[in-house]
């Protein structure tokens, strides 16, 4: 099995060294961002998805459907929702079958913010062979049953009884081509020459490293650490495409959150809207072809009634009208910008919030694209839908 494509995503906020997710992002939305980047050419049949993260939004269920809908994959695609960090993600890559998309997503405290996905298929891409696995316990960070984070905060202990002990257990003495799950200094001491610097230390880290190795065509030992556990793999260089969605970061805008009542949700309404809303698909009238978003029983064009098949909508969008809300709204972060956009040349419009740009930064005629975001959290339920990401203008996307 070889790695044919690596897709990466970094949120628009923060600094180059410390990215931050927006208030409308979570592990699932950033997983979708990098997964779509990996699948942008649509040359591969994806039959399985493995999502590795320690920040699953819906622990009691519901992530997989939203993940597949956001990725535009069939609801019959196999999904593994795996709690794990860097070793688990690397493990998932070399144990996966062809046709698998492995995603690592990080947005928790202490591991940085970013997501990366690798698409596995037969071919001439980078190949990985397992070298060693070590599972040891040194919980230098723990989450209590109430979700509160406890840090032991002893870097030397982690270095000596975590990293070095794991390497000794595995009998690894040689230098690596990349080491992740550690601070940059610790990583550098384990590597030869210019080890790639990656933006995260969690599940996405080994996948970011693979993107860097694909760019440089370097091979060798790849080490992925989490606390005192480690997975090591041998990287055999190959022809792997890298698709990055990494904008130049800007500071998180100053917003205020006014306490307020829970935003209520109707689960029947959520469930009825789900496919069209999370896949961004319109109802298409079987009689006259008129598109409707949301889909509707009675056609806007010809008045025909009945269930219309869903059809994918273009994601390029142009602003028809906009406003920015400054007055405090309970339960929402203000100011925020609302737009009504037109999608491609379909004539279909969508009402959405703006994401990835400071409030007030768009005007009528601004171009951009629709991206999956957690539009709101309603009575504890992440409400996924689409937000408008304006073109970054002079801050052009870093593309390779």
């Amino acid at each position: 099995v070889s790695i044919r494509v690596v897709g990466t995503y970094l949120p628009s906020w923060g600094t180059r060294d410390a990215r931050a997710v927006g208030t409308d992002e979570d592990a699932l939305t950033i997983a979708v961002e990098c997964g779509r980047a990996a699948m942008v050419d649509r040359n591969f049949d994806v039959r399985h998805v493995v999502l590795v993260t320690r920040d699953l939004p819906l622990l009691e269920g519901g992530n997989s459907a939203a993940l597949l809908a956001g990725l535009g994959l069939s609801a019959s695609t196999g999904v593994v929702e795996q709690i794990g960090g860097a070793p688990a993600a690397l493990d998932a890559v070399f144990t996966a079958a062809p046709g698998t998309l492995v995603i690592g997503a990080d947005c928790g405290s202490g591991v940085g913010c970013g997501a990366a996905a690798v698409l596995l298929a037969d071919g001439r891409g980078i190949k990985l062979t397992p070298v060693a696995r070590v599972q040891r316990s040194l919980p230098s960070r723990a989450r209590g049953s109430d979700g509160s984070v406890h840090d032991y905060d002893d870097p030397r202990l982690t270095r000596e009884r975590g990293v070095r002990a794991a390497l000794a257990d595995a009998g690894i003495a040689r230098k690596a081509v990349a080491a992740v799950g550690l601070g940059p200094k610790d990583a550098a001491t384990l590597c030869d020459g210019d080890a790639p610097r990656v933006p995260t230390t969690g599940a996405s880290a080994p996948l970011f490293a693979l993107a860097a190795l694909a760019d440089t065509r370097a091979g060798g030992l790849l080490l992925a650490f989490e606390q005192a556990s480690m997975t090591a793999a041998e990287v055999v260089p190959g022809s792997t495409t890298v698709r990055r969605r990494e904008r130049e970061p800007e500071p998180l805008p100053k917003q205020r959150v006014t306490p307020g009542p829970e935003i209520r949700i109707s689960l029947p309404a959520y469930e009825r809207a789900f496919d069209a809303k999370v896949r961004l698909e319109a109802g298409c009238c079987p009689h006259c072809g008129t598109l409707a978003l949301p889909p509707r029983h009675r056609c806007l064009g010809c008045g025909a009634e009945g269930e219309a098949a869903l059809t994918e909508l273009p994601r390029d969008a142009i602003v028809y009208t906009t406003t920015t809300v400054h007055t405090p709204v309970p339960g929402l972060a203000t100011p925020y910008t609302i737009v009504i956009v037109e999608l491609g040349d379909t004539g279909v419009r969508l009402l959405a919030q703006v994401t990835g740009a400071p409030p007030g930064n768009v005007g009528i005629g601004t171009r951009g694209e629709m991206v999956l975001r957690r539009v709101a959290e309603r009575s504890g339920i992440p409400d996924y839908g689409y937000a408008f990401l304006p073109e970054s203008g002079p801050r052009a996307q870093v593309a390779r």
Binding site: T258, G260, P261, I263, R264, I265, S266, A269, Y270, R272, A273, K277, L293, P294, L300, Y320, T321, T322, T323, T324, V325, H326, T327, P328, V329, P330, G331, L332, Y336, I338, I340, V348, R349, L350, L351, A352, Q353, G360, I364, V375, A376, R378, D383, G385
Partner: protein, 386 residues
């Protein structure tokens, strides 16, 4: 069709009535309406009532009306049609009395917006107007609902924020003499432009205040008008227009099609046109909305509203005074009562009794646009039977 007239009209002051409940405001408005009837009025004459209320306060609205006003034997229909509620309640009463099935109807509207916290009303209102799955969580609060229209309007027309400010300045000036108005003070263009931004392009002074209040009308059939007054105000036309509910389905957001539809119905019923109107009370919940109303009601051509407000013709003393009461902007906006209160003002204008009297006012128009900008009601009143 049987002709229908107003023989009495009254209202409470609009404002933050923290000290008065809906059960206080309703009887106050009824009593003032009854007191305004020239030859006296026995409330036992009321055959039926229509009660406009957007959100219920203190429970079951129809029952609260009869219970609080000494009308236990009167059948009541509650009307809820977003901001068009008041004029729609009147429209229904006109149909009832006009049919001959009833002789005397009470039309009353009331709301207590300030019964909720100032910001709590945002979510209540969005719950009334937005699709629960698609639009509710986006945060299209009431000013944003109209700002999406007005920003597009400013983009396509020659109007500017200064023109919006002129509406606020005019309506505040009109409201100064109105004892029922909530905001009775003059403001300047600079104050409007410099005020804190609420929702772009609306600053604080571009927005209606949040209000409590009630207003009432007494509607009677033509054969019995003489029993109550020699100076009736005739209901010449009514209309109600609707549109697609979701903003993303409105092809042209520089106009409110419901207003155009409602106005066409009312003009046709009255047999008059916009040029015949002497005075109007129009929906100005946010300043820019009044400009769009001018065009939708036919007071000027498309994108001619900036020139019209600039000309001063819509101020009292001009060719077509608009919102002599102060409008929603100065007088206040308890939605269920708003349309009725417009008719209370026009009742007084057409009888020459307004505190801000328009000369030679013979034909008057009241207008609301609201909800998710998907419903409008228009009423045309006249001093002549027509």
């Amino acid at each position: 069709v049987r002709r229908v007239a107003l023989v009495g009209a009254g209202m409470t002051a609009f404002g933050e009535h923290f000290d008065l409940g809906i059960k206080d405001l309703l009887p106050m408005a009824v009593t003032e309406a009854v007191a305004s009837v020239d030859k006296g009025f026995d409330r036992a004459d009321i055959d039926a009532a229509w009660f406009g209320e957007l959100t219920t306060t203190d429970g079951f609205p129809s029952g609260i009306l009869v219970d609080s006003c000494g009308l236990l034997d009167v059948p009541v229909t509650r009307v809820e049609n977003a901001c068009a509620t008041g004029n729609d309640a009147l429209r229904n009463a006109v149909y009832g009395v006009g049919s001959g099935m009833l002789d005397v109807a009470l039309v009353i509207g009331a709301d207590k917006v300030r019964e909720s916290s100032a910001r709590g009303t945002f979510w209540e209102w969005m719950g009334l107007t937005r699709d629960m799955a698609w639009d509710y969580p986006i945060g299209v609060v009431a000013p944003a609902n109209f700002a999406l229209h007005v920003n597009r309007y400013l983009h396509e027309s020659s109007a500017t924020r200064e023109h919006l400010a002129m509406v606020a300045v005019k309506n505040h000036h009109h409201g100064v003499t109105n004892p029922k108005a909530q905001l009775r003070h003059e403001i300047t263009i600079e104050q409007v432009l410099d005020a804190p931004m609420v929702v772009e392009p609306f600053g604080l002074y571009d927005c209606t205040p949040q209000s409590d209040g009630a207003a009432a009308l007494l509607v009677v059939g033509e054969e019995i008008v003489d029993r109550y007054t020699d100076r009736p105000v005739w209901v010449r036309g009514v209309g109600l227009g609707l549109d697609r509910v979701m903003h993303q389905h409105k092809a042209d957001m520089t106009t409110f099609p419901p207003t155009v539809k409602a106005a066409m119905q009312a003009y046709a019923m009255a047999g008059v046109g916009p040029a015949d109107i002497d005075v109007a009370e129009v929906h100005d919940c946010f300043t820019g909305v009044e400009l769009i109303d001018y065009e939708d009601l036919g007071f000027c051509e498309r994108f001619g509203a900036a020139a019209l407000i600039e000309s001063g013709e819509t101020a009292v003393g001009g060719r077509l005074p608009v919102n002599p009461s102060g409008g929603l902007k100065s007088k206040g906006h308890p939605p269920g009562a708003t349309g009725i209160a417009q008719c209370v003002e026009l009742f007084e204008q057409l009888r020459g009794e307004s505190t801000n009297q328009v000369d030679r006012a013979r034909l008057a128009l009241a207008h609301n646009i609201g909800g998710p900008t998907a419903v409008s009601a228009v009423t045309i009143l006249g001093s002549a039977k027509g």
